[in-house]
Amino acid sequence: MEVLKYSYLDEKIDEVKEQGFLNYRTSELPTWCPGCGYFGITHAMVQACDALGLKNEEICVASGIGCAGRYPIFMKAYGFHTVHGRSIPIASGIKLARQDLTVFAVGGDGDILGIGGGHLPHIARKNIDITLFLFDNSIYGLTKGQTSPTTPLSQVTNSHSQGNPDTPLRPVFLALAHGASFVARCYAGDVEGMKNIFTQAISHKGFSFLHIVSPCVTFDKVNITWKRLRENFRAVPSVHDPSDYRAAIQMAEDPRPIFGLFYHDPSRQSYQENLRGKRSPENSKSSER
């Protein structure tokens, strides 16, 4: 695992070109700050598409608004930079219309967990076959450094000069609680690791939730920094069985950051399979009453 190597991709453009991944990049230079974690994510996405041999024209990327939301502008595919918080419903609409397409939804922590938070439970339980890339920098980047739903308690931000009073949400735990069928956490500094998980997530037939922890070098100098992430990085233990829901839940509760594949239920039917009548009684994580 090499950290930061591709974090400022465009300075490495020749190197990348040699590797051939530019197939999936447009000529637009990302408008992200040098050192932003999003460069690494981009690089891993490109590599995963390459590994899967996806055709550019069969990829659709829908994103929200934010630094993360800019992603489709830099990817050679059909891209839809939508409005704040709505990448999930738009991506769902695309997939419902066109099963033949590979559909990604991209958004920041504000986008997916704040304004768009109401959509997450429902795409998870419906199990619509899209891959959600949550670019989580624990801050509102594009609007210049306000508290987000994952900003650590007491962190000083531009909207909370006295420190954030709100307990942050736990994205992986939520995705599991909502019944997502593929749940993983990635680290933006680990391109190889991301590539592997992205490849699995994209291949998964059903909703895949990717919580990608990524530093905002401009608006968070304290908490989610490259340095601290590197120091605290812990991988999901190799003994963990991704089909073990309860174990996944327990890991998600762990206060220390764990990266890797938490949960994968390959047998669960996707929304469209369901509609086509292949409904099975066990096709439900619903436990109540």
């Binding site: 059909y78 709505r86 609409g93 419902l96 397409l101 109401g118 959509h119 429902h122």
Partner: protein, 588 residues
């Protein structure tokens, strides 16, 4: 042979079978060859004892409006029916429950409220129902029986109708309904001396009418969507639009389409915009509160040039408002809901037939013009039941709207090329070499975010310009009546147009030079037609079911002249009589 044009109202509490009695009556009349226009009003609570009214106009000639006054009122519940009396014609007829005295509460019997000039027939509804089936439930059928006896309706045919209405029920249910009918019929034949002139016998009826489908506006919308290649319906329940979703949930999968019920209206329009981007026809249906929530994403469709259709069936507003009453007060947000300058196409059908036409047109225009199309219905249109002939099968041309880029265009592909028409060739995902990004940010011809002054100015113009041509594709505005020297020119929209037409015809009969202008296409406005009409009129009247005169305000900058307004917000459709009164006043 006589002509018939009779309005019957059945009034009772929720849960008393008021609405189903109305339905049986309408279906029967239709099967006999009458033309019908029926409309129910009911409270928005599930239970409780709110007032229900089943209103039917029955005629052997063309019906343009529901009719303001009832000729016959069937009072299933006295307390509610008393408050319904003002809607009864001065010479109208009341059929009421002639209850034994111990059932009567003071002041609550309608018998004491009937004005001189009205005719009342007391029928012991409760007693007969109890006799027929051992409980009070059959009162509605007893009343229908009395109606049949009094107005010379063929009882055997009516019984067949009742039977088919309850065909899926248990035999005992069918029997008790039939028995109740029979009791009412026989008792009335024997005991009532008819002293009114109304009859349904000896009417000249068109055979062809008999086989007409009975359909309301919501059903017409759903049918149009099914016939027009809809692939995705995404929706969230809300009165009065829910039924569209319920029908499509059954029917769309049969055609390979998908109906998805979303977590809210935002997700619904999100799904629609996503599917539109992906190249499939998609729509949602809602009412004011849901429509408000959709405006942000609706404007994304405008900005990103993605097809999207929203059916908005208006109800009383603002806020949750009056969910089960009709109103035309969402015109403002249909025209400009959501932030910024966001041109879109707005279609307002004026009849149930036009609900069908309007939705097919909407799906076509959205695809061709790559933008948002709003179809405005209202509670009345959604629920107004007609046995009209369905319009011709959809215009074939309307089934395919998208203009794809040519090979040459794909070479240096500009998804948002600022063409003369404003329409840019649109590549559908999956098209090799057509990749582009679209965004809700202002953007260049390639789709790249761009904020300079020229781009925003030019692209704004493009978005406004491109929809103009829709004027030439939609049905022309209707100008009815004289073409010049008009004394009162009525401009009406949506469901009010029918009443306005009836009013204009009546005014003309009274010697007033009145004319009507109405257009199913509201935006872009076929302004030339309206200006021409306006020039031919001494006075202009815009009747509409809202308080602030939203359509009149919309017309003002086009017409630059004083406009008379008739605004009503009572929750009821506007009647021809209301408009006629105003025309008379203005003609003086």
């Amino acid at each position: 042979m006589t002509n018939v044009d009779i309005v019957i109202e059945i009034c009772g509490s929720a849960g008393e079978g008021t609405i189903s009695a109305g339905e049986i009556l309408s279906r029967f009349m239709s099967s006999q060859g009458f033309e019908i226009m029926s409309f129910d009003s009911y409270p928005s609570e599930i239970r409780g004892f709110g007032k229900c009214v089943a209103h039917s106009r029955i005629s052997n000639r063309k019906i343009l409006s529901p009719g303001k006054y009832a000729d016959i009122l069937i009072a299933l519940k006295d307390a509610h029916s008393i408050s319904q009396l003002p809607s009864l014609r001065e010479t109208g007829i009341v059929i009421y429950d002639n209850k034994p005295p111990n059932y009567l509460e003071e002041d609550k019997s309608i018998a004491g409220w009937i004005e001189p000039g009205m005719i009342s027939y007391g029928v012991p509804l409760l007693e007969l129902a109890q006799k027929a089936a051992g409980n009070s439930r059959g009162r509605n059928m007893v009343a229908i029986g009395a109606l049949a006896a009094l107005f010379q309706i063929d009882d055997e045919a009516m019984k067949a109708s009742i039977r088919s209405r309850y065909a899926k029920k248990k035999q005992i249910v069918i029997d008790s309904n039939l028995n109740s009918f029979q009791e009412g019929f026989e008792w009335s034949k024997k005991n009532i001396t008819k002293i009114d002139p109304y009859t349904f016998r000896n009417v000249r009826l068109k055979k062809s009418n008999k086989s007409r489908a009975i359909i309301n506006g919501n059903q017409a919308v759903a049918q149009a969507a099914l016939d027009s290649g809809l692939h995705l319906y995404a929706g969230y329940p809300i009165t009065p639009a829910t039924k569209i979703m319920e029908i499509l949930s059954k029917e769309l999968p049969k055609k390979g389409g998908i109906m998805i019920q979303t977590e809210d209206e935002i997700a619904a329009i999100g799904n629609v915009v996503g599917a539109g981007f992906a190249g499939k026809r998609a729509m949602t249906a809602t009412s004011g509160p849901g429509f408000s929530l959709m405006t942000e994403l609706a404007n994304l469709a405008v900005m990103a040039e993605v097809p999207a259709v929203i059916i908005n069936s208006q109800r009383g507003g603002p806020s949750t408002g009056v969910p089960t009453k009709t109103e035309q007060s969402d015109l403002n947000i249909a025209l400009s809901g959501g932030s910024g300058d966001s041109p879109r196409i707005v279609i307002a059908p004026t009849t149930v037939e036009e609900c069908y036409l309007g939705v097919s047109l909407a799906l076509y225009l959205a695809e061709k013009y790559q933008t948002l199309v709003v179809v405005l219905l209202d509670f009345f249109l959604s629920n107004s039941i007609r046995n009209i002939p369905m319009p011709e099968p959809i215009n074939k041309k309307w089934l395919k709207g998208n203009i794809a880029p040519t090979k040459t265009e794909l070479k240096d592909y500009k998804r948002f090329k600022n063409t003369e028409s404003g329409i840019s060739p649109r590549a559908i995902p999956g098209t090799p070499g057509g990749m582009f990004v679209t965004t809700g940010l202002e953007h260049s011809e390639q789709g790249k975010p761009q904020y300079d002054r020229e781009t925003h100015h030019q692209m704004t113009r493009k978005r406004f310009r491109k929809i103009q041509n829709a004027i030439n594709e939609a049905p022309k505005p209707q100008w009815r009546g004289p073409k010049k020297d008009i004394s009162v020119g009525v401009i009406a929209w949506g469901s009010t147009a029918g009443s306005a037409q009836e009013a204009v015809i009546k005014a003309q009969k009274e010697g007033i030079k009145a004319a009507l202008m109405s257009s199913m296409l509201i935006s872009p406005l076929p302004a030339d037609s309206f200006r021409k009409f306006s020039k031919a009129c001494q006075k202009i009247l815009v009747p509409e079911l809202n308080y602030s005169g939203q359509f009149a305000n919309y017309l003002a900058p086009y017409l630059n002249r004083p406009i008379e307004r008739l605004n009503m917000v009572t929750g009821l459709p506007m009647s021809a009589e209301d408009i006629l009164d105003k025309i008379r006043e203005m003609a003086n």
